[in-house]
């Protein structure tokens, strides 16, 4: 078990290192950040001076090594724009992003599991059909549109929930739904097909033959078997939600990492972009590690193989 965790952490470290190279190079392809900081009529000497000040006149490889060296000590440099440590800027916003992604994921699972299970149990029946339409709608509606619709209906017309901002539990409801809406379709499909497989297996047939109530067969004995493929998917979706939340964060004025990084990209605020992407990739690696470890909780066979 420990060996597995160490191996995964090592693999994760390499992934994060790779991500750092990519983001470092790509952000620099976007142009010169100094141009964004100075007035349009600034003299070339001022531009050169600021470049030297930020170390942007150094060779790219040297810049990268400096960045990594500092990053390892927790120093991601100062934001060009806000003149404060980039790390602090990101870490301040990280909890809000994790909160939003977790709530979004919870929403999608809370919807996908019952729909998927009932669709499998009543295969071809009306629940199955409605579930499929519902899932298709989810996949056909982009998050920004769902977000706007939710604001229009629940915030503006019904006035049930706040339209934007952050702080109370009520604030997270609409953004979480907007974020969790899209993956419902794919998760429902996974749950449905996994459940169909399990419900057709010998051990479920034996459970029936021994008089196990159908309720227990479906929700206990079959569902836990179907959980493994779902778990795999959840890891990927959680990570995708962490990184992809910026649209929803922007619509709902949610003070998260995604929005901050997008703003930083537009202003070529390299330290903030680098810190933001690096932390997102760390969360990505950790959430996948968590999924790997949770397999063992669900499936004892995996526990023993390791």
């Amino acid at each position: 078990m420990l060996a597995l965790v160490l191996r995964r952490l090592w693999q994760g470290a390499i992934s994060i290192l790779g991500a750092s190279v990519i983001i470092f190079v790509i952000s620099r392809l976007s142009g010169d950040p100094v141009v964004m900081l100075v007035p349009p009529d600034a003299p070339p000497s001022l531009i050169a001076e600021i470049r030297t000040q930020y170390g942007l006149d150094q060779p790219l490889v040297w810049q990268y090594l400096l960045f990594i060296g500092h990053a390892l000590t927790g120093d991601f440099g100062n934001s060009y724009r806000w003149q404060m440590p980039a790390l602090k800027l990101i870490l301040d916003r990280l909890p809000a992003t994790i909160q939003l992604a977790a709530c979004g994921l919870l929403f999608s699972v809370a919807l996908a599991v019952p729909i998927g299970v009932l669709s499998a149990v009543h295969r071809g029946g009306w629940i199955d059909r409605i579930g499929r339409i519902f899932a298709m709608l989810g996949q056909a509606m982009p998050a920004f549109w769902v977000g706007l619709l939710l604001i229009l209906v629940f915030a503006v017309q019904l006035n049930w929930l706040p339209a934007f901002g952050h702080g109370t539990p009520a604030h997270v409801v609409l953004p979480a739904i907007a974020l969790g809406w899209y993956p419902v379709a794919a998760q429902t499909r996974i749950v449905r097909s996994a459940m169909l497989d399990v419900l057709d297996s010998d051990h479920i047939r034996l459970s029936r033959a021994l008089g196990t109530p159908e309720r227990l067969i479906v929700w206990k004995y079959a569902l836990r078997n179907a959980a493994v493929p779902l778990l795999t998917m959840l890891g990927v979706y959680f990570a995708a939600m962490l990184g992809g939340a910026f649209v929803v964060e922007t619509i709902f004025a949610w003070p998260g990492v995604g929005r901050t990084v997008v703003e930083a990209v537009f202003s070529r605020d390299f330290p903030v972009v680098q810190a933001g992407v690096l932390f997102t990739s760390i969360l990505f690696v950790l959430s996948n590690l968590l999924v790997d470890l949770s397999y063992g909780l669900v499936d004892p066979r995996i526990r023993d193989v390791r």
Partner: protein, 319 residues
Amino acid sequence: MVLEVHNLHTHLHLKRGILRAVDGISLTVGEGETLGLVGESGSGKTLTGLSLLRLLPKGSGRIAEGSIKLDGQELTTLSDSAMARDIRGRRIAMIMQDPMTSLNPVFSIGDQVSNPLRNHNIAQGATLRSKVISVLTQVRIPSAEKRLGDYPHQFSGGQRQRIVAAMAIGCTPRLLVADEPTTALDVTIQVQIIALLRQIQADTGTGIILITHDLGVAASLCHRIAVMYAGRIVETGPVRRIYKSPAHPYTQALLAAIPRLGDKRARLQAIPGQPPSLIDPPQGCRFAPRCPARMDKCAEPPPTVTLADGHEAACWKLA
């Protein structure tokens, strides 16, 4: 009689038409008796077993006609919830073919063995635990107490089949339907499972229906044999008579097809032809198209002829 089945018809409603998988069979199983249901694949053995539990394929399977009586109680008219509550696992239990897939891989065997006992309110709490241990000990799982938390993959194939047997006998059913319980196992393990079934019967007096295509297994365990062909029972009788003097040409062909040690014949004896389609079966004797002793009369349904006490066969040749 523990079980009396009379004129049972089980149909599968398929897109191609109605498949008459079980077409008018009658059989009985007495207390402490083992009846072997023997026949080739597709002869309707397994669907007969599933019909007893009313566990036919959802949507397509249906008992069209006939009566199934367990200790005199009619089962065909019971509601499905009553079947689940009072019959399945409680008074009729089933053991299935493949022990490797018959246990749920993500639940401990303690949980799975206690499941029928819990569902049928046989035991709870500490009594439940001790009952599970005693049942597992009864099927010879070594140090059962320590292994309650173990999962199916930590047991061998033979042990898994024993655990399945433990699940089946926990509630001391009146009838045990064992569907090919030894087919997926090594020969040495087969012997152990046969011995186990014998021991279970001696301990509890349960009636057993052994569904098998293996005549050797049937001979070693059964008191009586019913030979099925194309959804019908063609011959039934005490095990010795069936093996010593088989009357129906199909039974004779089946026995002749078993290769014997020291036999000089170079070729294996096969039965020529294929079993008929059960969607549109022949009007008369279903074995007639493959039968070496075919006569003109075989185009009409054959009479059931009693040859000796309990030995019956459905064939014109004997009439």
